[in-house]
């Protein structure tokens, strides 16, 4: 009786706080595909040709800065994905016309996916 309880408790601690549901993960990946993010970036959890126009989005949660200019928080990452030039006017990343919710979902996806 106790063991499965402890086990599931331990499991829940292993999950990073920003963990996405399966449905959210699928929606985030669909957005990333639809908006061509992975034609410029290596995206974690999605196999692809490892393009190198922009920096890899792998290990996003470990980075100190978003785009090398702003503290790496969920809000800042969302704001950058929504409108890169609002964060850094010189940024070469285009504004991809996402909604605020879409940008935040992608930001949460990136922060939740550490490795390659």
């Amino acid at each position: 009786m106790r063991t499965p309880l402890l086990f599931s408790l331990a499991l829940s601690f292993c999950q990073p706080p920003g963990q996405l549901s399966q449905d959210e993960t699928a929606r985030a990946q669909a957005l990333i595909r639809a908006h061509g993010c992975w034609s410029c970036h290596t995206v974690p959890g999605m196999a692809g040709p490892a393009p190198n126009t922009g920096p890899p989005l792998t290990g996003q949660a470990e980075k100190a800065y978003v785009a090398g200019v702003a503290p790496n928080t969920l809000d800042m990452l969302t704001a950058f994905i929504l409108d890169p030039q609002a964060i850094d006017p010189r940024s070469a990343m285009p504004d991809l016309g996402l909604s605020g919710d879409e940008a935040q979902l992608i930001a949460r996806y990136l922060l939740a996916h550490g490795g390659t």
Binding site: G36, S39, C40, P49, P51, N52, T53, G54, P55, P56, G59, E62, K63, A64, Y65, A67, G68, V69, A70, D88, R90, S91, A92, M93, P94
Partner: protein, 286 residues
């Protein structure tokens, strides 16, 4: 076979025990800068240091006509670069340096106990894990010998004389110059990147350090389409970026590290060798 095994176990066991003993008795587990090593450990480390320095400096030749001499120029050079940690006759080090461990050697003591070759060796290459930096990328060879000549002259100088030299130093004070080279050479880059602390913010293949993500890993920076996401990646632009990032992007978190053009060119060549520029057509956004 069994005998060999026994001997092996006994010898590895005693090596491990000796290691543990040194670790515990020598207080190597204590990493704080307020707890000194016991005297015998300090003695053993100093013995090792001096043996290695004697060996290292035996290959160094004094330049022709080297003499210990104090001039307004080399006194100013010492005051601005070395006295911050070591102090000078009658003048204290900066506040933070008082609490360093090991405490930076008093410069008069250096002169009394070290040959010019040894002083030069310390200045040029520094001393690992002590806080003594290497100056070979901060000064030319001539300037390092000038500072050495000043150190060796200190025991004959009263504090008042030293300070009189400083007072007559040319204004503005002479700045040490980085050594110059002619052609970009990627083989020099790992040492240079280490000497300019690039590794304190970037993971760089070929350099050892912590898993840091303050700046992006430089593994594929050479083939990335944009430098720092703002500047088309060309060899010339890479040099510009390394020399003055905030001139390229005023918002950038990468500071200006006062890298000369020669040094930046070596570093850029290394980044392009790690990851050669690609044809980018197929990365174009749809």
């Amino acid at each position: 076979m069994r005998r060999w095994l026994g001997a092996f176990l006994v010898s590895t066991g005693s090596i491990a025990a000796a290691g543990a003993g040194v670790l515990l008795l020598g207080e190597f587990y204590n990493l704080s800068a307020v707890r000194q090593h016991p005297a015998w450990v300090y003695g053993a480390i100093a013995l090792g240091r001096d043996a290695v320095i004697a060996l290292d400096s035996s290959g160094i030749d004094l330049p022709d006509g080297f003499t210990p001499i104090a001039t307004p120029q080399n006194a100013a050079m010492f005051q601005d670069n070395c006295a911050r940690c070591h102090g000078a006759p009658g003048l204290p080090p900066e506040d933070f340096a008082l609490a360093m461990l090991p405490v930076p050697t008093n410069p008069v003591d250096m002169a009394m106990n070290r040959s010019p070759e040894q002083i030069y060796r310390f200045v040029s290459e520094g001393l690992k894990m002590s806080g003594m930096p290497a100056w070979q990328q901060r000064m030319t060879e001539d300037e390092m010998w000038d500072v050495t000549a000043l150190v060796e002259a200190l025991p004959d100088l009263s504090p008042a004389e030293y300070q009189a030299l400083l007072a007559s130093a040319p204004q503005p004070r002479p700045e040490p110059a980085a050594p110059t080279s002619l052609d970009a050479d990627p083989d020099r880059a790992p040492l240079l990147m280490q000497q300019y602390a690039c590794r304190s913010c970037h993971i760089i293949p070929g350099l050892v350090g912590r898993k840091v993500h303050v700046g992006p890993s430089l593994e594929r920076a050479g083939s990335r389409r944009y430098i720092a996401g703002v500047l088309p990646n060309t060899p010339e632009n890479m040099i510009r970026w390394i020399m003055d990032p905030q001139k390229v992007d005023p918002l950038s978190a990468m500071p200006n590290l006062d890298v000369s053009r020669d040094v930046a060119a070596d570093m850029a060549a290394y980044l392009f060798r790690l990851s050669p520029p690609e044809l980018h057509e197929r990365d174009e956004a749809p």
